[in-house]
Amino acid sequence: MADDPIQSAQELIDAARRIADAGRKKRVAVAAAQDVDVIEAVSQAEADGFLDGSLIGDERTIRSLAEERGITLDNLEVIAQDDVSSAAHRAVGMAAKGDADVVMKGFLPTSALLRTVLDKQYGLRGSGTISHCAVLDIPGYHKMLNFTDGGMVVAPDPEQKYQILSNAVTVARAMGLSPVKVAVSGAYHQAVGAVAHNASDQGLVVKRARENMSDIEITGPMPLDVSTSRRAAEAYGVDHPVAADADIFLVNSIEECNITCKALINFAQAIFCGVVVGARIPVSLVSRTDTVMNKKASLALACVLADYYAQTGHWDKQGGAS
């Protein structure tokens, strides 16, 4: 758990490094590591000193890809497991035995990796709903903003929305945020007439969160501007602790999350840190288009979250369907 609230991608990397320096360095097991962008991300994070990496996959391809890009594998463990499915099982098995703290996706479909993570034999099932958190460091906003869910649940029902929120709140706790401030997205800050198409779902989530979660401020619908800009909040006369200070932006659709984040990444130079939450270990995904900073920060986020799980006994308290 972070001592001070983490408010930027750099602070996330610093926090992961402090965890390592305190003797709790995390090990990342990469499933089907024959993907040069993934190898590069792990190698750079290792060089930064905040994780150890096990590259599991087609060893020959892993080594030749690394050599082509001039990446040294000296400080990384390479485990030969040519078959993609076996590599996934090996990586997840390491996590199940406590030999790895984070599982990272390599050259295999996300769905295939998640199926393995959720395979009952490993006991890594968590809350039930797996969701993706896109934690953005947006230049001009004074803290990080967690957009969720932009990758896992296509059309969440109220129960899934609550789980998605709960997963995001866990990430916020791991980042040391208190209270956690949640804006439930809406195009307008009032739920009226034709624009209130999802107001009832949102209402349920907000009500349940207020009843069941402590140390949280949640409101909605609230648009992105009122959620993150003092000027906008004042113009609309919105005086709520979440206004202009949101930590989590709970979206209404996968499109909203994905597209808003990509607009901010492409045109506002936002740094993107992504992690898949909901299993008993964080799952890290990076994509080819991510910058080096994005990839490192994503891995750092996964390490910080894994450390939070370990230090707080999070999943033992939560139970889960394992």
Binding site: Y141, E255, T289
Partner: protein, 309 residues
Amino acid sequence: MSVGIAGFDRIRDLVSKRLEGKEPLRTALVVPSSTEAIKAIAQAASEGLIAPVIVGDAALCRQTADECGADLASAEFLDLNQPDMAMMTAFQMAAKGEVQVIVKGRGSTVDFLQHLLSEEARFVKPKSLVTHVAGIKPKRYDRVLFVSDAAVVPQPDLKTKIPMLSNLIGVCQACGLERPRVAVLGAVEVVYPQMQATVDAAVLDKMATRGQIKGAYVDGPLSFDCAIDRAAAEAKGITDSQVAGQADAMLTSNIETANGILKGMKLYGDADVGGVLVGGAVPVVINTRYDEQTTRYHSLLMALAVAST
């Protein structure tokens, strides 16, 4: 590589040229007590683009104009102190052809929209659909992106997306794009039957290919990065698209997505923005309460471009 519209000044030049030797466009400012709206109106009037018609509290408007140094000497005034009455009057004037553009001043957008869409206003013809089109010029993109719909239609089905797309293409053409490149956005650039947005996008794409939707290159589904970044598109194997990497316009599958793009760019994208409502009797400018003169002026330019086409 297409040129696109490099900035809002191009739209201004286009409107000026169209209006050469013609009367300026009669533009109603409704519920006028917004300093920034008055300044934008005065600016366009001073450039000879519009003839302002102030519909609302005349004394308050004059006082506000004096305070901010805006010159409304050429304006007509229709003194109506009651905001609801002012709105309905403006909509009815537009329906009768007495004004060619409407600009919303102060007040709630939701309330304004409810009045605009009401039967009593007679502002929307049967079978036409009112939609919002935002113009966004992020510093890091080479052209204005026209994005719909951030303000009116919450969650359109495929049938509704067809007129939305036509409205969007119409605004692009009015702003000077002969054949706009329109991306129908999805979270991904492939079709997944369980993701309705991708299915609808593919259908719209096909309808454009077959000439059922005219006047634009349409490609969908495209993810945001594939729409605006050629390298991202090529990395995904999209090499034969007339849109990918050079989109002029984007249709989103719900209101929050377009709203997220618009607000995100407005706050963090170092962007020039504007927006217009189309599909009613005349184009309408609505702005966010904190929008400054420049944004309101850009919106007005978009409305004038539509009205002068």
